[in-house]
Symmetry: C2
DNA sequence: GTATAGTGTTCTAAAAAACTCAACGCTCGG
DNA sequence: CCGAGCGTTGAGTTTTTTAGAACACTATAC
C-alpha cells in the first residue's frame, strides 16, 4: 500500500541502523529518506532518532512510535487477509520462524497438507535458534513460532505445548540399532555428536551429561542437525534429537532413531506461539489451528 | 499527520454517506476524493464502497477496512499522547460522551479537578442519550462514556458501575420540601414532569408508574432536565432525576431534591465505559482513573 | 413520462509532494 | 591527521495529488 511507505522507511532505518544503509535496501537516496524522517519528527514535535556519528538510534519516543508502526503494518496485512478471507482464503501468507528440528520433516509436511487445502496461501519459513525465534515474533517479522524448549517471555503467547521425547540417532548399521530402545548409559560407550548450546535439546542433556562427564566422549558439537546426521555415517557415533525431528525411517535413510528410556532424559517441551495481543491474519490463524490440532493428536498418541 | 489523510478521507465519506458531501467537510473537490478511493480499492483488489444513486455504502470488505482505519487513527492519537506523556502529560485531549444528568454538576467538577492537575489537557464533551453514547464509543468519536442505565453491548467495556438513587425534584417552596425524604405515593398527588424515553431515569420509573397510571397526573414529558427544572418553578410539579445530577442545594437554587424511599424506586446504575480492546490515550486513561476513583468513593459514602 | 437534483466519474492542467544528484559539515578510528 | 562513514542541505526533476468543468447515470417529483 502506498500510504505506509513512510512506515517501511522508518522500519528500515531501525533495522539498518543508519539512513545510508537503509536507503540501499529501499532503493531510494539517503536525502529523500532523511527528509521524510525529519518530516515525521516535525509532525510529532519530537525527535524519533538520536543522531550518532555511526548511525541512528531510537529515542524513547521513537520506541513508542516504532511499536505503532510495526503493529500498524502487521495489522494491515491482517486486514487484507480478512478481506481475502471473505472470498474463501484464496490468497494469504504465513510467516513462520521455527527451530531446526522441525525443518526436516514436520514443517514441510504441515505446509504441504495446508496448501493442499488452500493452494493460494504462501509461506515463508525462517529457521532460527530459540532466542532469535521469539525476537522475530516481537519484531513482527513472523506470525508464528514453533520452538523447542524456548524461554518464554510475557510478550509471547503459547498456543499449545507438547512433550517431545529425546531420541538417539545413529547409523542403521550401528551396534545399538538392533535394540528397540536404548539407555543413555549405553550411548555413553560411543562417541557423541551433541547439539550445541543454541539448540533446545542440548539444554535438556546438559545437566545429565555433566554428572557423567568422565564417561562421555564428546566427538563433536554442532548447531546443525544436518551436519550431525552426516557425522553419524561413521556407524559408531551417536547423536540426539527430539522425536519429531528424526528422519522418516520408512524412507531409505541410513540414519535411524531409537527412543531413550524416559528415566534417563526428560521430554523436551515443543511449543507453538504467537505475539500476545496480536490478531493473526486469516491464513496464519488457520494454519495455527492446523498445527495445534496436529500436535495435539500427536500428544495423545504418545 | 500527513500520511493518514487518506484515512480521514475514507472516514469522512462513510460519515457523510457520499463523496460530494464528504468533499465539502474536507475542503477538497469530489474528483480528488473519488480518485483516492479508487486508488485504495485498486490496491486492495476489492470494492470498498457500493455505488448507489444517492451515495456510497460500505461493502463487507469496506466494513473491515473502516474498522482498521478508525482503530489506527485512534491508535495514533494514543501514541502521540504517550509520547507527550514522556514529558509529564503536558498536552493531551479527552473526548467524553455522557448522559444529560452529568452535565449540570458532576462532569464540570471532574474536569475542573483534572485540569487543576493537568492544565495542558483539553476536553470535548458531548451530551447524548444512552443509545448514541455507546455508538460514539464504537465509532471512535469518544474515548469515554459516562451513562445512566445503558444497555451494554459486548463491544463496550464497563470500567465502573455505581448505583444512583432516584430523587424527586421540586421547588424549595413545594409542600413536600419540608420532609427530608418522600414516598413515591406522596409525589403522585402532584403534577409530574417526567424525563422521556431517551433518558435512563424514565426506564426505571416506567414499570412503577404503569401500575399506578390512574393516580399519576403527568403534566409534561421532556428530554431536557433543564426544561424540567424550569417547569418545577410552579411550586406544584415534581420531577425526577438521579442524585448525582441534582443541583447543588448549597448554592442559591430554587430547586431542591429529596430522596425517594428505596422501597419505591430501585437505584439507577451509572456506568463509566470505554470501547473494549482499545488502548486509551494517556490523558484519557488518567481521567478514567480519576472518574472511577471518585465514583467509587461516592459509592462507599452512600 | 419527463424534468430535476442528486450522485459517481473522467478529462485536462496546475499545484504539491517526493525524489535525485551533488555537495557540505561532522565525528570517529586508524 | 586523514579518510571513511555518517546525517544534512540546496537546487532541479519526477511523480503524485488536486482543481475545475463536463459527462453519464439514477432515483424522485411533478
Amino acid at each position: 500500500m502506498k500510504h505506509l511507505r513512510l512506515f517501511e522507511y522508518i522500519d528500515a532505518v531501525v533495522r539498518a541502523g543508519s539512513i545510508r544503509r537503509a536507503s540501499e535496501t529501499l532503493y531510494i537516496t539517503p536525502s529523500a529518506l532523511d527528509r521524510r524522517i525529519q518530516q515525521v519528527e516535525e509532525e510529532l514535535g519530537t525527535q524519533i532518532f538520536e543522531r550518532h556519528a555511526k548511525g541512528m538510534r531510537l529515542t524513547a519516543a521513537g520506541e513508542i512510535f516504532l511499536d505503532y508502526v510495526r503493529r500498524h503494518m502487521a495489522d494491515l496485512d491482517r486486514v487484507r487477509s480478512e478481506i481475502e478471507g471473505l472470498k474463501g482464503l484464496r490468497k494469504g501468507h504465513v510467516a513462520i520462524v521455527a527451530s531446526q528440528a522441525l525443518a526436516l520433516k514436520f514443517l514441510p509436511e504441515q505446509i504441504r497438507l495446508f496448501r493442499s487445502r488452500y493452494p493460494g496461501v504462501s509461506f515463508s519459513v525462517r529457521i532460527a535458534d530459540r532466542g532469535e525465534a521469539l525476537k522475530s515474533l516481537i519484531a513482527f517479522e513472523a506470525d508464528l513460532a514453533v520452538v523447542v524448549f524456548p524461554k518464554m517471555s510475557s510478550e509471547v503467547m503459547q498456543l499449545i505445548m507438547v512433550a517431545q521425547p529425546v531420541v538417539a540417532l545413529m547409523s542403521a548399521l550401528h551396534p545399538l540399532a538392533a535394540q528397540p530402545t536404548v539407555r543413555l548409559s549405553e550411548c555413553l560407550n560411543y562417541p557423541l555428536v551433541l547439539p550445541d548450546a543454541s539448540l533446545g535439546v542440548r539444554e535438556l542433556l546438559q545437566p545429565i551429561l555433566i554428572r557423567r562427564t568422565n564417561k562421555a566422549q564428546i566427538s563433536a558439537e554442532t548447531n546443525s542437525f544436518e551436519l550431525m546426521r552426516g557425522l553419524l555415517q561413521d556407524q559408531r557415533s551417536i547423536g540426539f534429537q527430539i522425536a519429531i525431528g528424526t528422519p522418516d525411517s520408512l524412507q531409505e535413510s541410513t540414519i535411524i532413531s531409537r527412543p531413550i528410556d524416559e528415566r534417563d532424559v526428560p521430554a523436551a517441551p515443543l511449543i507453538c506461539a504467537q505475539l500476545r495481543g496480536r490478531t493473526l491474519s486469516v491464513a496464519a490463524a488457520r494454519f495455527a489451528d492446523q498445527l495445534t490440532q496436529q500436535l495435539d493428536n500427536m500428544n495423545l498418541s504418545v
